[in-house]
């Protein structure tokens, strides 16, 4: 995709940023240069056999303690260990 002023404005809107008119052209050139530097990603081979897993796997298999084990003096549980939501008072 070519990066022009229209693209910059569209991406800026998604990022919830306002790019002034006088700098849109500069931003477009800058982004085009940065994106061009990412072209080497297209040359990477043999990626189809690797399933994307963005977070590096830890050697240990244990997971963090379940939420229910967090110390919380205000927590109320029923006999199954589930959190009990306090009943709401009916509005007058």
């Amino acid at each position: 995709m070519a990066i022009d002023s229209h693209t910059v404005r569209r991406i800026a809107a998604l990022a919830r940023l306002d790019i002034p008119d006088e700098t849109v052209g500069h931003r477009a050139n800058e982004m085009a240069t940065l994106v061009a530097s990412l072209d080497t990603l297209g040359e990477v081979k043999d990626l189809d056999t690797i399933s994307p897993n963005p977070v590096p796997r830890r050697l240990d298999e244990e997971r963090a303690p379940p939420l229910g084990s967090f110390p919380d003096p205000n927590r109320v549980v029923d006999t199954s260990g589930a959190l009990v939501v306090p009943p709401m008072k009916k509005p007058r």
Partner: protein, 466 residues
């Protein structure tokens, strides 16, 4: 003076914590021109010092780091104190809780004397992107200290504090350590809890210490390390400590040198190679490596880190968090607040990250980058079947002149070309001072097997002698 020596003196009663802290505060004030600190906390520091001295007087355990003055990067939460990530967007923001890593240091008697300057939200490699002014390199004030943990590196290099906390996403602890001539450690991903660290890229961020000695880095990391129920990515397995009491030996250590990172055209090649030849003369074995996957690391990092940053910084809307620029509608208020609040480098990365995640491009860029990341991790893990430690220059250059790269983002990003691979793969990595280039410090990066900080810390002690 090293942290362990200071703590030993305070524990023995031969030095008062209050005197140690007052000394650090005086040095910080005397060197204010460095721009290392955003916020000094003399009242808090002296109060804590008196508490430590009272424990010593009562023959109670004041902690392993009793009375040691420390500094923390301005993206690490400390309850009741400012937390701005060096951004005007968070001007006036106060932390409501304390980061787990900092709580553990304070529990061992360490005393925070101030919050250090940084590149805004951790995005930068020079220390010039702070909303509160640039930091300068203590070795030469006309040069950058590196980034993004610029103030922490400068504070340690200038001798203000023996330990400062940084955060490392793509090299932000190691690169300024190299530029300032101090030790900087990025532990294994998950070794230190990220609870209380303002998120930049959550799959990459790690808090790490900057120190003047390997021993101090080892003890500080061990104190901070450990599983944390408030961070589900924190490691369960404990950290193996290096042997800091007995000087280690280089004999038999297999040191891998990826040819992709040792070009003779690099200015740092000659002085760092001399350091490696010295290790070889002391019994280490240098092993050439070929890791072509390293060539993709910087583009992968640019995509992954900016995409995750775009997601993490979406919470800053000027309504729930941040300085509000009120307009007629909610949408206009959010846009104005973010545009006014974020600096140019943050906006640049948000645009790149949003672009990488946008419809029609996410498969081409983001998913491809993550797959290449796994391939890089597998390649480095395979390399560790032949070597014990992998070494690269920490940065391809020494500290550059202030203002020389601020308008050239691509060249600025190239400064991190060697630090981003272990950030992407999660392996522990350490920068140690290993020589000079044109009078400026340069660092050698040691990369260790996953969850094995001890190997790189031991080799670091062989190189530095401390």
């Amino acid at each position: 003076m090293d942290a362990l020596v200071t703590a030993g003196a305070v524990r023995m009663g031969s030095r008062r914590a209050l005197d140690v802290v007052n000394g650090a505060l005086r040095r910080a004030e005397a060197m204010a021109d460095l721009g290392a600190f955003i916020h000094l906390m003399p009242e808090h520091a002296r109060k804590r010092a008196l508490e430590v001295d009272a424990l010593v007087a009562a023959n109670r355990n004041p902690g392993r780091l009793a009375g040691v003055p420390i500094a923390i990067k301005d993206n690490i939460a400390h309850a009741g104190h400012p937390l701005t990530a060096a951004s005007r967007f968070l001007d006036g923001n106060t932390a409501t809780y304390t980061a787990t890593a900092l709580r553990r240091l304070e529990a061992q008697g360490a005393i925070v004397i101030g919050r250090t300057n940084m590149d805004e939200f951790g995005m930068g490699s020079s220390g010039e992107y702070s909303s509160w002014g640039a930091t300068r390199n203590p070795a030469n004030p006309e040069r950058v200290p590196g980034g993004s943990s610029s103030g922490s590196a400068a504070a340690v290099a200038a001798g203000i504090v023996p330990i400062a906390l940084g955060s490392d996403t793509g090299g932000s602890t190691r690169q300024p350590a190299s530029f300032c001539g101090v030790v900087g450690l990025k532990p294994t991903y998950g070794r230190i809890s990220r609870h209380g660290l303002i998120a930049f890229a959550s799959s990459l961020d790690q808090i790490g210490p900057l120190t003047r000695s390997i021993r101090d880095a080892a003890v500080a990391t061990a104190v901070m390390a450990g599983t944390d129920p408030l961070d589900s990515t924190s490691l369960q397995a404990p950290m193996n400590m290096p042997n800091i009491a007995t000087p280690p030996s280089a004999k038999g250590i297999r040191i891998g040198m990826p040819r992709q990172t040792w070009s003779e055209e690099m200015p740092v090649h000659a002085p760092l190679t001399e350091c490696l030849r010295n290790l070889e003369s002391r019994g280490a074995v240098l092993v050439p490596l070929d890791l072509p996957a390293l060539d993709t690391a910087l583009p992968v990092y640019c995509v992954v880190s900016s995409a995750e940053a775009a997601s993490n910084l979406a919470r800053f809307d000027g309504i729930r968090i941040g300085v509000c620029q009120t307009r007629d509608t909610v949408s206009e208020t959010v846009i104005a607040s973010r545009t006014e609040g974020f600096g140019p480098e943050v906006q640049r990365r948000l645009l790149l990250g949003t672009y990488a995640l946008s419809e029609g491009l996410s498969a081409q860029l983001y998913r491809r980058a993550n797959a290449a990341r796994i391939a890089l991790r597998n390649a480095i893990d395979r390399a560790f079947s032949s070597v014990d430690v992998i070494v690269t220059p920490t940065a391809p250059c020494a500290a550059f002149p202030m203002g020389s790269r601020i308008d050239d983002p691509l060249t600025m990003y190239q400064t991190d070309i060697f630090t981003v691979p272990p950030s992407l793969t999660g392996h522990p990595a350490l920068s140690v001072p290993a020589g000079t280039l044109d009078g400026m410090p340069i660092g050698l990066q040691l990369i260790g097997p996953n969850e094995d900080e001890a190997s790189i810390l031991n080799l670091g002690m062989v190189i530095t002698g401390r």
